[in-house]
């Protein structure tokens, strides 16, 4: 099981801690397209839930969106239009202002909380991101580790070991909460690397949670989502198993479709 701190972070992403409003699931945002450099962490898809809430509050006041009180409370009715404010309105506002989380940022925050609580270790200071030989890059990553931890950092042999994969075999009983599914080198139309956090492994079912955007969900449907992988074929690769998310399996499940295109699809565990 993940620690209570990590579980709390996951719950906060699934239900952002806005004062006076429940049910705002954190949207997905990846900075790859905008390519903003040196921006606030929260504006490049790497913010913690509290950061996202604070930023939404500030942007709402700055641009007079009328969604929040100065105290941070969500308004029951929009200050300017008078229309009731719902969780969907807030989600739309977050997406329109590029507020959200991307897959590796999400996993970093959850695992950071997990290892801080269980082993008193801050993984952002332990993970190898880049070599000091590249001085400038190394300095940047020292100041801003969370922004520079991506899927490849988690997949790096210096940071994690393979649990499920071609080298180690496919014994799914070894998988634990806190392990991650790595998807690297995908083919079109899925180009981004992806990482999924496993939250539980009970009787042949891997529970997972990740930040993702399905094309089928349109502009406002994406975000942090939970799912399951039912191990129907022990000893076989992950794409031979049944992936279920939002009640969808097989071809209808875009997470599964995406995973199938990855040249490297494996489960890894941090060396901490």
């Amino acid at each position: 099981m993940l620690s209570t701190g990590a579980q709390k972070i996951i719950n906060n992403y699934l239900n952002l801690p806005f004062k006076g409003l429940n049910g705002v699931r954190c949207p997905y945002f990846n900075n790859a397209r905008l390519a903003q450099r040196g921006q606030l962490r929260v504006l490049v898809g790497k913010g913690a839930p509290a950061d996202i809430v604070d930023e939404a509050h500030i942007i709402s006041i700055q641009y007079h969106a009328g969604l929040f009180e100065h105290s941070g409370e969500c308004c029951l009715h929009n200050k300017h239009t008078g229309a009731p404010v719902t969780a969907d309105d807030i989600r739309q506002f977050l997406i329109d202002h590029n507020l959200g989380i991307e897959c590796s940022g999400f996993v970093t925050h959850v695992l950071r909380a997990h290892y801080l609580e269980t082993k008193k270790i801050d993984i952002t200071k332990k993970l190898f991101i880049t070599s000091p030989k590249n001085m400038v890059r190394w300095l940047i990553t020292t100041f801003r580790p969370i922004e520079n931890i991506d899927v490849r950092v988690f997949a790096n042999e210096r940071n994690s070991t393979q649990i499920i994969g071609k080298q180690t075999g496919f014994d799914y009983s070894k998988v634990q909460a806190g392990d991650v599914i790595i998807e690297i080198e995908k083919t079109k139309p899925f180009r981004c690397n992806h990482i999924i956090l496993i939250t539980n492994n009970t009787s042949g079912v891997l529970d997972y949670v990740h930040a993702r955007a399905w094309a089928g969900e349109g502009k406002y449907g994406h975000g942090v989502t939970e799912g399951k992988i039912r191990i129907l074929h022990p000893g076989k690769n992950l794409w031979e198993q049944e992936w279920m998310e939002k009640g969808l399996t097989g071809e209808a499940n875009e997470t599964f479709n995406e995973a199938r295109t990855a040249r490297i699809l494996e489960i890894r565990r941090l060396k901490i």
Partner: protein
């Protein structure tokens, strides 16, 4: 006590107040006529409860700049002491005016990236354009470097261009202090500790303080009445200090600025009839720095312009925090916006900042006299 100097200074103060009050309606009509106003299409913050600021004239600072220049030219023109402060203020005000006008009427400026410049330097079919692009490389590098610390502007004068012109104004000032005012200005006044001889190092020190103060006043001009009221307090303190030290040219000059500022702030308190604009904030920021430096109290600037310095330092810290750590230090910068986000009303912020400024000016006087 030189009561005659005090009376002269008060006369200048009263005179410039009257002149500015007479001139203000004419200026407001002029600004409205030529539509030199804030426009919602260029300013995304003019929404919601700020919508009423749409259409408010900018460049209200002209009221102060013109009043001070005219009165000083006619009644207080001193080849040794007042022509350089007025000249430097004029350079900075011109820069600000150009920025204000370009912000209202200018077209969106094209920004070539460094890669484009480097490529054009090689492939352009005119040799003289290739030479031009060669010279443009360091300029673009500077623009990129400055751009890392500020927001990208699409209109008006760019930050790196402003910095260069402010540097020139500071350099003129430093030249004047170092070569014209005498050797006593080659020493830096140290509070409680007399003088420290710094020689030519006074030149970069002056340039730094002029540029810093100019931008600080510019940054503080964000709420109705904030910059105007704070400048009244700062220049009043400076008038008092100049009078106490018997500076016969500077006491009337500072008093003239106070008088013009009184009329300006009368029209600038919420809801403002006009706003200072860069023409006023850059010009007055430069003049504040110069007038403190000219009475050889350079290190008093952070105290006598406390609110401006705090506002500007908050911007610098916020940018550093954002770039280095990816986090906000304040909810927003400059500092007055931080308190706005926290729910303080505009009036509350402005009046509290005035009070703090007044307190710090008293501290400055106490330090200076001691």
């Amino acid at each position: 006590m030189n009561l005659e100097l005090l009376r002269t200074s008060l006369t200048y103060l009263l005179g410039s107040t009257v002149v500015a009050f007479v001139f203000a309606p004419i200026l407001i009509a002029f600004l409205y006529k030529f539509k030199i106003t804030r426009r919602a299409e260029f300013d995304i913050t003019l929404q919601g409860d700020r919508r009423h600021k749409t259409g408010t004239p900018i460049m209200g600072g002209l009221l102060i700049i013109i009043t001070v220049t005219i009165i000083t030219l006619i009644f207080n023109w001193d080849r040794r002491y007042t022509y350089v402060p007025i000249g430097a203020m004029g350079i900075a005000a011109l820069l600000g005016a150009a920025d204000d006008l370009l912000n209202v009427f200018g077209i969106t400026r094209r920004r070539r990236t460094l890669e484009q410049i480097l490529r054009l330097r090689k492939v352009h079919h005119h040799w003289y354009i290739r030479i031009w692009y060669t010279f443009a490389v360091p300029w673009t590098l500077m623009r990129n470097f400055v751009g890392m610390f500020g927001s990208k502007q699409e209109r008006g004068i760019q930050v790196h261009e402003k910095l260069l012109l402010q540097f020139l104004a500071g350099a003129v000032m430093a030249w004047w202090v170092y070569f014209k005012l005498g050797t006593s200005w080659h020493s830096l006044w140290i509070p409680f500790d007399g003088q420290l001889f710094v020689g030519w190092l006074i030149i970069p020190i002056i340039i730094f303080f002029v540029m810093f103060t100019t931008n600080a006043v510019n940054v503080a001009d964000g709420l109705d009445g904030l910059a105007g009221g704070s400048l009244i307090i700062a220049f009043s303190g400076l008038t008092l200090l100049s009078w106490l030290e018997g500076r016969t040219a500077f006491a009337p000059l500072n008093a003239t600025v106070v008088g013009a500022l009184i009329a300006y702030t009368y029209f600038n308190v919420k809801p403002a009839r006009f706003q200072m604009g860069d023409v006023g904030s850059l010009g007055l920021g430069t003049l504040l720095a110069i007038n403190v430096i000219a009475i050889n109290r350079t290190l008093l600037l952070p105290i006598i312009g406390f609110i401006f310095y705090i506002e500007f330092v908050s911007v610098i810290l916020q940018v550093l925090s954002r770039r280095l750590f990816g986090r906000r230090l304040f909810k927003m910068s400059p500092l007055h916006h931080h308190f706005e986000i926290k729910g303080w009303s505009e009036e509350k912020i402005v009046i509290r900042f005035w009070l703090i400024q007044a307190f710090m000016v008293v501290v400055a006087l106490w330090v200076a006299i001691k």
